[in-house]
Amino acid sequence: MITLTINDKEVTLEKPVSVLEAARQAGIKIPTLCYHEALKPYGGCRLCVVEVERMPKLQTACTLMAADGMVVKTESEGISKVRRGILEFLLINHPLDCPYCDKAGECELQDLVNKYGPTVGRYKEEKRKVPESHKDQIFARNMERCVVCTRCVRMCNDQQGASAISIMGRGNHSRMEPFSSDSFNCEYCGNCLTVCPVGAILSRLYMHSFRPWQVDNEVETICSYCGVGCSLVVQVRDESIKRVIPRTGLGVNRGLLCSRGRFGYEYINSQDRLTTPLVRKNGKLEQSTWSEALHIVAERLSGIKRTDGGSAIAGIGSPRCSNEDNYVFQKFIRMACGSNNIDSISRTGYAAAQKYFEELLGQGITTNLIEGLKNSEVIFVVGGDPTAVNPILGLSIREASRRGAKIVVLGNAKGLDRFKTLQVVPPVFREMEVLEELLVGVSGVKGARGEKLDVDKGIRMLSDTYSGSMDIEGIEELKQTLLNSPSTSIVFGMDLVQRANGHRAVFAIAGLTYLLEARLYLLSDRPNEQGLIDAGCVPDMLPGGRPLDIHDFKRKFETEWGGPIPEEDGKTLFEIIEGARNKSVKALYIMGDNPVFNLPDAQYIKEALQALDFLVVQDLFLSETAQLADVVLPALGWTEKTGTYTNLERRIQLQKKAVNAGSGMEDWKIISEVSGKMGYKMAYSDAEDIMDEIAKVSPLYRDLTYREISKGNCLWPYHGEPLRGEIHELPAMVDAASDFRADFYLALEKPLFHSGTLSRRSPALMKICPEPTLKINGAAARKLGLHEGNRVQVTTAAGSSEVPVSIDDTIKDNKVLLSNNFEGQGLFSLLTYTLDPVTKAPGIEGCEVRLIKI
């Protein structure tokens, strides 16, 4: 316990902190400029100087640790004089263009000068002249205003780990600059923007469009892009979002954001938003009214239910919609339509892996906090780049690396290039065998663990059939690193799940997790993949992860919902697609998703949807799927409605309404209206009402209220019992993968700046990354005579596309990467799939690709 006196006030500290923090705890404000809560103390600006008894000179409070018995004075005539002097020095170069500067009103220098500073400087020479740089698409850089506090650089180096900017020059000529001095060419997280105390780095997205004090409404909410669920603050003026800012220390992200979260909000104001319901008349989608559209939907669905039975109707929920939306949706499909055919796009990765993990380990979800990654000694990254899929989770890995943890990567993870200790890049599409080899190796040393006998059996089967080493560089070292680690985390991306026999990769990861007693993290690239499963948007489970085939659970829900839940087993996503093709599914209701674009083999999916008798799509935009629909219903998006989201670590968070939408209805509302017209009444007045019902029926959300959730730190309890019963299938031991002899293989790239349908309507993200590029190894490109920016024709068995080339030497040999984010140029339209027998996820096939220079 440390007790010190600050301004005659006794302060007792629990933990040793700096004098500055001690003073802040006691409610005494010491002025600072270079200090920032999120960064390490720097002691550069000297504004926080204080008098300490028995110390001859003034001390910087930010770097001085509080000690027992210290007597500190934070304000005096002498101190004010020093501070005034420092500010006068800063104003030698800082232009007094506050009336024009965007930062005015929230500028720390302005506030300080207002309090301490000289109103007139005595320095008569000319000020430093540097023109404001607008060469970057997102950031404006004004180096006249810079006070060289280095907050931005420290943020970029120590927190974000991008190290894209630095202080150039020295003395009077010091300035912050990105390497190329032109565009930033960085991760565009914008965290430098957050920490700049003056108007030296500004966002061009809202430049000169409003003043910080002219904000009508400020709402603390969560991000709508990925499964991390970062907290952020939305500032609104005149019913439009002016900017998105983080708040230091808030939420899972602790005040850091990524490019998607910070700059990707503009799609909400997009001109392409649907404004009225559309109904297909004479083969064409025409504008209609809500009453007509809802009437048609209810009528047609009732008709199909009458003639073909409930099982001819299916629903696709959305990992972009809230728990409430998905809960109401599955209830509608089950109760009003009488069908268990409900699934979502998550079946392509997260939901599929999660289910198989649950069968194997008794837990499918990430049962650890994202923050816990920082404390791991070894982090094993497989199947995707966490810094692109879940950027903020990726930052935890980078932080662990800075702390001295070993980061081992299997495959490509570009964002971890400077942070990894070991990388093993197997030949194209052979990651799965490497994982199996690792598992066999680890089990050879560790033996059976004897807790999950089926998993032990599976590993033994694998060891018995295992035939010789693959001889890949680094694999032995990787094995030793894992074996010698005191605490291991495994970060598993969904790339390997989407391969033929993807369940083998899941089994290998489960086996490693089991043998090494590792912590498992599943990456999730949509905001509510976990919540969607918890809400019951899966064919085999009711809300709260209650299996449909356990009679007691089912009866409980039947009492609560007032009617029978259909007996028949539900179809998974791809079974629904098959069903549509073979006419066993006649009507499909899609809420907030775009399967034609998001699923492999676009042509096949399109044909399936066209074969339907009736297709309803509920979305923000007229997506590729909506264009095929019979009825399109405009929904509401992020910040336009309230709802809860469950992130990948089971954290339930509230997404709040910030603006009034011009048109559209909440997803749950549209569905409950249709349901009412079909004879199954759902009387909810608002989203909170639905949450109350979920809290009643779902054991995961028991007694949860919006008030409780908005306090934060609301994780649903994990009990560790395998809810969906025992293992159904162990991995089939397929012979080592078939020959990969084609010249090039196409694989999916998950880029940092895009997520698909939403991000491509965000002008800022489109400026950062305007078009898809084919990433190719430098040596391979030279062989084809390709240079950076050359256009190339990419041809597979399923289709062909024209894209520019970008050279990336982190990709090995004959693999080329393409993203699936841009209209008409998605990777998935070029590939086909086969269904994995165990996970029911699509195993992507037909990756052999021909590249022709144009």
Binding site: S163, A164, S166, M168, G169, R170, E177, P178, S180, R418
Partner: protein
């Protein structure tokens, strides 16, 4: 571009230090020794060799006035413009030389013989004013002495290099 030969020398430099980052400045001065100046491409290549962010290499390179980021003339004159050196006469030494050669800060004479640059302290405050011509250090200067040095170079140059 850093060729294979240079890369191996830099790898050798790295071995002398406890971590790769420490080799930034020695590698930069080595590059300058070989090429005369450090280009953006060199820094990009060095970043790959050292596994160190480009921006931070640039930061170090731009901090040291002895490291040149632009091609320089045969004789590169650096004049101190700090307080002591500027106190000597009413016109500063820098302005004088600038007038004599007809070039300003960072410029090169049309014949490519001289380039001029003002620098912060050269560590000769007690013997001010001071300047450097390439790696030669000159102290206790006045306008006359500076003129003599420049003229001597011109004379020698016209003699040796037609």
């Amino acid at each position: 571009m850093i060729d294979e030969n240079m890369r191996q020398t830099i790898e050798g430099l790295i071995k002398k230090f406890p971590c790769r980052d420490s080799a930034v400045v020695p590698s930069l001065s080595y590059i300058q020794k070989v090429k005369g100046h450090i280009s953006e491409n060199d820094m990009e290549d060095l970043a790959i060799i050292l596994q160190f962010p480009e921006a931070r290499i640039f930061s170090a390179a731009s901090f040291y006035s002895m490291l040149k980021l632009m091609p320089k003339a045969r004789y590169h004159i650096q004049v101190c413009t700090n307080v002591s050196c500027s106190l000597v006469e009413t016109e500063t030494l820098f302005d004088h030389i600038s007038g004599k050669l007809g070039i300003g800060e960072g410029e090169i004479t049309p014949d490519g013989l001289f380039s001029l640059e003002s620098v912060e302290c050269l560590g000769s405050c007690g013997y001010a004013p001071a300047m450097m011509v390439n790696s030669e250090h000159y102290e206790n200067l006045n306008f006359k002495k500076a003129d003599e040095i420049i003229e001597l170079i011109i004379k020698e140059f016209t003699g040796k290099y037609p």
